[in-house]
């Protein structure tokens, strides 16, 4: 874990020094590419899977690309995360298939991530701050094998409103706050029976075919992000980000989930133009 952090930080600084040689300019970047190392904790209470709360401390990687004009911002991004699921109340449990058989410790691994695309339009602009309002489409997927010895999965395609506010603190510092609120979601969860079995269909297809639309009345998944960005040089910056989201969906049985996440990112600016 420490080695990974050092590697990411080292990479960021090396790239920052290299790009610091770039010529300074009054031009503003028309695009940026951001790579982030993610570290977080997910707490999951899915009554469809278990009456107990599972914690997943995870690592992950986020990549995103933003296209920026004076009034518009487009974003495309993806991220992947993985970690082991532990129910603190249950601890590590060692089972056997049968008495006298080989034993194994039941610690499911969870794999999850998202793909997103969004657009925002500037709605306020002062000398040192701007606000952007828009929407995003985001697909979040989760998979774990071995949660209570079952397969656990969820997929949610969300259509969300998003507001972002930037505050410039001098030439090199910027703080950004984001609020994301899904309004409608197309969600697939394990069915009430926890069985996905259809003739002549893959399990993934049978699972996704059970997706249902949910509105904000039954599906709540607000997210807030706060980030601090330091401009290292003309073409690069470092960013520290904290995000928190909370999910509640009631069908077929209640699922509640929260994520706390921090991210350390290196940002590369390009396609400079006079604004």
């Amino acid at each position: 874990m420490k080695t990974t952090l050092k590697l990411v930080a080292g990479l960021c600084f090396a790239l920052a020094i290299a790009s610091a040689r770039a010529q300074d300019s009054q031009e503003k970047p028309g695009a940026e590419f951001r790579i982030s190392y993610l570290r977080g904790t997910q707490k999951l209470h899915d009554l469809q899977a278990s009456p107990m709360i599972y914690y997943t401390t995870y690592n992950g990687l986020n990549l995103d690309y933003k296209r920026i004009t004076e009034k518009n911002r487009w974003e495309f991004g993806l991220e992947a995360k993985t970690g082991n699921m532990i129910a603190p109340e249950l601890g590590e449990r060692e089972f056997q298939i049968e008495e006298g058989g080989d034993s194994f410790v039941l610690i499911p691994s969870q794999y999850f991530g998202e793909i997103r695309a969004g657009y925002q339009r500037q709605v306020s602009s002062k000398s040192k701050s701007q606000g952007y309002l828009g929407g995003m489409i985001r697909d979040e997927f989760y998979y774990a094998d071995g949660l209570a010895m079952n397969t656990w999965s969820m997929n949610s395609l969300e259509f969300a409103a998003r507001y972002s506010h930037f505050v410039e603190l001098g030439k090199k510092h910027r703080i950004e706050g984001d609020v994301i609120l899904p309004l409608v979601a197309f969600t697939a969860r394990m069915p009430y029976s926890n069985v996905v079995s259809q003739p002549e269909k893959s399990q993934a297809k049978a699972f996704l075919e059970e997706s249902e639309f949910a509105s904000i009345g039954t599906y709540q998944h607000p997210e807030i992000q706060l980030s601090y960005r330091y401009h290292l040089a003309h073409r690069s910056g470092l960013e520290f980000r904290y995000s928190l989201d909370w999910l509640h969906y009631s069908e077929p049985r209640s699922i509640k989930k929260s994520n706390h996440e921090i991210a350390l990112a290196w940002v590369y600016f390009f396609q400079f133009a006079h604004h």
């Binding site: 707490k43 209470h45 009456p51 107990m52 009430y192 926890n194 069985v195 706060l226």
Partner: protein, 349 residues
């Protein structure tokens, strides 16, 4: 200037911090049941009450079961005493897909279904009679064995399980059938198939099908009521591209369970097939697991599986055309009466 700007973001940061702290509070995630014996017992009982699919089929009054067993559970019970009470309660279901496990230290497993004698089938006995043998998987625990019996043109095909994805069996069966095409008859030994994927069972049966036929319908619990089920799902056996339509005997016994039984259901629609051996086990439905507040894990049937006529064989098993029951003593002495009867059927054709 920096201080001034912090005012703009200060409220956001404070809100975030407050929300962050409050999210640590488990009220945002809901409460967990206590890990006491009484709580674990109640969760076990209610999980079955809301999810078990065969109460009506078994004509079992689950509320009466609660009234019988709940008074036996107190928070003073030891783990082993609680396990005994729970096992006694689950015995009422008499369901081969219901089991309970308690983790180490002191691992215990309880199976609710009926027990049958072991040692009534030996693959090694048969392998000794094959003149040519093809094996897939480890030689001592093969996933698939096929070949020809010595001095005959009768083929033999054994499947250990149906636990892999359908594509796996499609490839393996294609190879096996290409080899077995030169035989005049075939014995398909399903006595080792304890379970697997029903879709794989469907694929394997397709290699012996002449026509597309409905063989099974399934439905699954979709609510807490004992009769809350989703729509029926219809399963058809579809002829594969390369088929074996000569006479086939399928051998079954009490070790043929779950997906092995849905395979047997599918093979019953194929006219060239005769069934010899013992009844199948009688546990058809998928059985997802759930866990209790004390960390124990329990599996239960959550589906309703019927043949094409709507008959359920849960707890009964599928009856062969010719009932031949091996005893462990016969098998230990090198005798497999079921395979002898299969020869009788094929040579009598």
């Amino acid at each position: 200037m920096f201080t001034y700007k912090l005012k703009t973001t200060g409220s956001i940061a404070l809100s975030l911090a407050l929300l962050g702290f409050s999210s640590c509070n488990e009220t945002m995630l809901g409460e967990q049941p206590a890990a006491t014996p009484t709580s674990s017992f109640e969760v076990l009982w209610s999980e079955f009450d809301q999810n078990y699919s065969l109460f009506e089929l078994k004509n079992l009054d689950w509320q009466a079961v609660h009234e019988e067993f709940a008074p036996k559970v107190t928070d003073q019970l030891t783990d082993d005493q609680l396990f005994d009470v729970m096992s006694e309660m689950l015995a009422k279901l008499n369901d081969g897909h219901v089991w309970l496990v308690k983790p180490n230290p002191g691992f215990r497993r309880y199976d609710s279904g009926p027990e049958f004698p072991e040692g009534t089938f030996s693959l090694d006995l048969i392998r000794g009679e094959l003149s040519e043998e093809k094996v897939f998987g480890p030689d001592d625990e093969p996933m698939m064995v096929y070949g020809k019996f010595k001095n005959t043109n009768i083929g033999y095909l054994y499947l250990d399980n149906l636990g892999e994805a359908p594509g796996f069996y499609e490839e393996q069966m294609k190879t096996a059938i290409a080899y077995l095409k030169t035989t005049d008859e075939l014995i398909f030994d399903a006595r080792g198939i304890e379970g697997g994927d029903d879709r794989s069972a469907q694929v394997v049966a397709g290699f012996f099908a002449e026509n597309r036929e409905l063989y099974m319908k399934t439905r699954f619990k979709n609510g807490p009521g004992h009769s809350d089920f989703g729509d029926w799902i219809f399963w058809y056996v579809n002829p594969a591209k390369s088929t074996f339509l000569k006479p086939v005997v399928v051998l079954t016994d009490r070790g043929t369970g779950s997906a092995g039984e849905t395979f047997t259901l599918a093979m019953r629609k194929n006219e060239n097939v005769t069934f010899v051996g013992n009844f199948t086990y009688g546990a058809f439905s998928d059985n997802p697991k759930t866990e209790l507040p004390n960390g124990w894990i329990v599996a239960m049937s959550r589906g309703d599986f019927r043949d094409d006529a709507g008959i359920s064989y849960e707890g009964i098993g599928l009856e062969p055309d010719q009932l031949v029951i091996n005893t462990p003593e016969q098998v230990a002495n090198g005798m497999d009466r079921a395979i002898q009867a299969a020869f009788g059927v094929l040579l009598g054709n």
